[in-house]
């Protein structure tokens, strides 16, 4: 196995802890955004409108 392949494998494993730190950070951000949305809807009584009406992902039903 050449050096570049070993380097790629090591980099791939080093990415994992960084990914996990980012994941924890984005989870905190999602919690803050959820709280913000909840508070804003409670205060204003209005919900934001999505660009497309909400619906099920899969419209074809269970066959």
């Amino acid at each position: 196995m050449d050096i570049s392949k070993i380097g790629k494998i090591i980099y791939g494993y080093l990415v994992i802890p960084v990914w996990i730190i980012f994941f924890l950070g984005t989870t905190c951000v999602l919690i803050v955004l959820a709280l913000n949305a909840w508070i804003r809807t409670k205060l204003s009584g209005k919900k934001a409108s999505a660009q497309f009406a909400q619906r099920s992902i899969f419209p074809y039903g269970h066959i």
Partner: protein
Amino acid sequence: MDIFEINEGIGGAYERLAYSAVIKKLAAEHGCRSILELGATYIAGVPGFNSCLLADAGFDVTILVHPRDLAETQAIWSTYKTPGKVTILEGSDLLSTQFSEGQFDLVWNHLAFEHYPQPQKLVAEMSRIAKKIVINLTLSPWNVGFPLHWLGHKLHNKPWDHGYFGHTTIAAMEKAHQQENLVHLESGGCDVPPWMDTVDAQLGGTMTYLDYAPGAIKKSWKWNSVDPKTQNHGLIKMLLGWEAAMPDWFRRCAAHHLYVASKK
């Protein structure tokens, strides 16, 4: 509607870029020209938009859309000029379609497989109309967001509309492909950003979660997978680079989607 005005959110845009990269790679490796998305789904809050990056890459794309989403899908695509030819057709039965045997080089769908009690019937139809490659993608049950989303359905008394748990796995897809005598090409996880998959959960009525943020932040946080600004954004490139580098076992554990690709 101008296609560039759609805000998919960073999750929606990243998702399309990630799974499209897998499909484009396989299509290029096997000389595919025509691609059918059998059963377009409402992914990342936009109807019938899943194949946008395949058309953008120059493939001739046909999309079979359910009557429910047809008008909106046609409206979205009508403003989008792509190098590849795009055909949008109406269809509500994915197990028995109007297409002839081997009509398309590659047949794929996104989050359709797990909805069928006998998914091999879907694979059988995909195999019949595919000339070279069949690809199925499912919603990964291993992502942290999956059980939370299931809990959200329970708490809100909303019927579960994401298919059978047992059919979301790579093993289930591989089994169905084997039953149709397809030859295994590759399988794995794709769409592995460092955030949980919120699936189609809404925050206060919207899936682009900064809609309640101050106007300046909301306006600047716009992501659209066909927009070169999104495609070339440093953050997107960095995360796609991480995804490509990480070990296969981690991708399978942390991905938002699992896939199996086979050839005829």
